[in-house]
Amino acid sequence: MKTVKSSFRFKGGVHPDYNKELARDKAIELLPLPAELVISMSQHLGAPAKCIVKPGDFVTRGQLIGEKNGFISVCVRASSSGKVKAVEKRPGPAGGKADAVILDTTAQPPEAPESPVASTGEGPVLPPLDWKAATREELLKRVEEAGICGMGGAGFPTAVKLNPPPGKRCEYLVLNGAECEPYLTADFRVMLERADRIRVGIEIMRKILGQCAVRVAVEANKPEAIAALEKALADIEGNVEIVVLPVLYPQGSEKHQIFATVGRVVPEPPALPIDVGCVVENVGTVAAIADAVEKGEPLLSRVTTVSGDAVAEPKNVLAPCGTKYADLVAFCGGEKEPPAKVISGGTMMGFAVPTMEIATTKTTSGLLLLSRRRVFQYGSGPCINCGRCLRACPMNLNPAEISKAVEADDIQAAEKEYHVMDCIECGACSFGCPSYRTITQMCRRAKNSIRARIAAEKAKAAAAAKEAK
């Protein structure tokens, strides 16, 4: 094991105010169980899970409440025992509504003798596995049944990622501990406090993926995390390196991480990191895998950073998935002043949310309450051709031209000439725009309409094929 400096720097990137000092020294605190949990069936990327409980049911902690529904999907387990109050559509942080199980955690288990004894939080949910003795299939199955998805933000099903299609081999396992989003310190605290779990996770993942080199990527502004990882990984066998990345946003982007650690470039979509022999996992996910295997603990809770200048005591909270934002903020001493903006996630890529009734998911890395002083209200101005967004774009795109094409409703030009589908929506273009143009939003609009068009074409082709039959 050795620590090296990254020798590749990607083009572009920006330096936002990190504001990590608000929560970086706060140890992870366990949230007391909220009285009500709202557990969404769509906490991951891909098809939402199929809800298998109905109102009135009593569920135990860790019980399967949502079945995996398709290949790119993840199962959902109850974050706590309790009585199902309702199953209804609830809005998620990004706005889309999905089925959610509303759980009353104060309910007492039914006294029926024939029902299995309700465990109220104690004891393992799944039988612990000895990862040294377990087979690859057993481990992979465990990752799948523990409901683990990428905890960095996108929520890609981990079991799918760890099972590369035939013919593709993972050469590099990259652990993403960059956490380049401002304010967020959840991954930092996990690396600091749970470095030993990350080590176990690495061993398990190496067993699943076959022998591969491991690169743990950490930004240089987290020396304590690097030290903790160095200590935990000191005597690990095999090719393991901690790569210290320069502080630059969006260093935590999967593609840029691969470039910074291994020097490989992921081709444009639909290519995936596995096409260049890499698998990238967030450090939180790796720790969750270790818990799922060694302790039999499914992914039921995660560390969320509650920060911002409008929250009384910024904290890193270990909260069950499905905790309402209002409960999280209440645990952190409530609001210091009325927030002007509440963001689920980081300030660069997170979603502004309209209500505190939204609940956390497996991917909620942060909840930021920003006061009026930190929120700048603006209108989108005309492009002055300064080229700052071109310099900032880490994907080598031309955001200025994309935004102008979208303004002119010329989605085709944005797609064919300016390759808007390569955009990772990191927000670096809007961040530096002196004309306050909502460039990222325009890219997103173009991508949404292109995706809608492709979906419509597919549906049409499917209907035509059906008719031909």
């Binding site: 509504k97 979603f351 309209p354 609009r445």
Partner: protein, 269 residues
């Protein structure tokens, strides 16, 4: 001089011969009725019939692959004219116009956030579902007005309204609306339910002062369930446009005030 005349005349002769041959062997005989039908159609090229412009529809009509009467813009008069040309019967279709099923103005429907992104409903809807408390309601950023070929849609007080006199029923706004709350309704229908929120009454009341609560009073006032003037979806009343109610008092008596008598004319031009 003479040589020049001869050369020009020669070229003329050769070209004439080539044209004559081309006319004989390469000509494409077009049904003259296509031109006549195209002329009879309104020429709006709105695409509401499902074909690429009026010419495309005319070709389909002459070929007999499209029903006469699919032109919403032309209406019955147009269908009759086409029927005369083609010698077929006009399928009587009523003129249909777009209706925005929401009446939650800025003062009635609460807004949960300040949206200051791009002024487009599709973008706003992709940002936390939009800034309106009611996730079903009209966002009022004009995605429908932007695609309307006739300028029949105006945005006023955070709400889109269709001017019935200008609407040609092409249905472009129906496709553009991210909330799917625009519907093509018969132009003769006068009583409408201007709400698309199927949630329970208290949930609707929380976000909008003029949302349908599904109290069934409109159904009772229009002759009960047997009369069949209304269809209920969840806690939302819908006008059965196959059999629309005619009594305008029904709308006036709606306790939620989400029904309207012909809202199209509220914003004139």
């Amino acid at each position: 001089m003479a040589t020049a005349i001869l050369i020009i005349a020669g070229i003329g002769l050769v070209a004439a011969a080539a044209l004559a041959v081309a006319d004989r062997y390469l000509s494409v005989r077009e049904d003259p009725r296509i031109g006549m039908v195209t002329a009879a159609l309104p020429g709006a090229n709105c695409g509401g019939c499902g074909f690429a412009g009026c010419d495309g529809y005319a070709r389909a009509l002459v070929a007999g692959t499209a029903p006469n009467g699919a032109c919403a813009a032309g209406g019955a008069a147009c269908a009759e004219a086409v029927a005369k040309i083609l010698g077929v019967e006009a399928t009587a279709t009523e003129r249909r116009v777009a209706l925005v099923k929401c009446c939650g103005t800025r003062s009635e429907a609460i807004r949960v956030g300040d949206y200051n992104g791009i002024c487009d409903c599709n973008v706003a809807a992709a940002t936390a579902g939009g800034d309106k408390g009611c996730t079903y309601g009209c966002l009022g950023y004009g995605a429908c007005a932007n695609v309307c070929p006739k300028g029949a849609i105006t945005i006023a007080d955070g709400l889109a309204k269709v001017d019935k006199r200008l609407c040609i029923g092409c249905g472009k706004c129906v496709k553009a609306c991210p909330k799917h709350i625009i519907e093509l309704v018969p132009a003769s229908a006068t009583v409408h339910v201007l709400c698309a929120n199927p949630d329970k009454g208290p949930a609707v009341r929380k976000v909008c002062g003029v949302g349908c609560m599904g109290c069934h009073l409109c159904e009772k006032n229009s002759g009960g369930k047997e009369a069949g003037h209304f269809i209920f979806q969840g806690f939302l009343a819908k006008v059965n446009y196959e059999n629309p109610p005619t009594d305008e008092q029904v709308a006036a008596k709606c306790p939620a005030k989400c029904m309207s008598v012909d809202p199209h004319f509220e914003t004139g031009h």
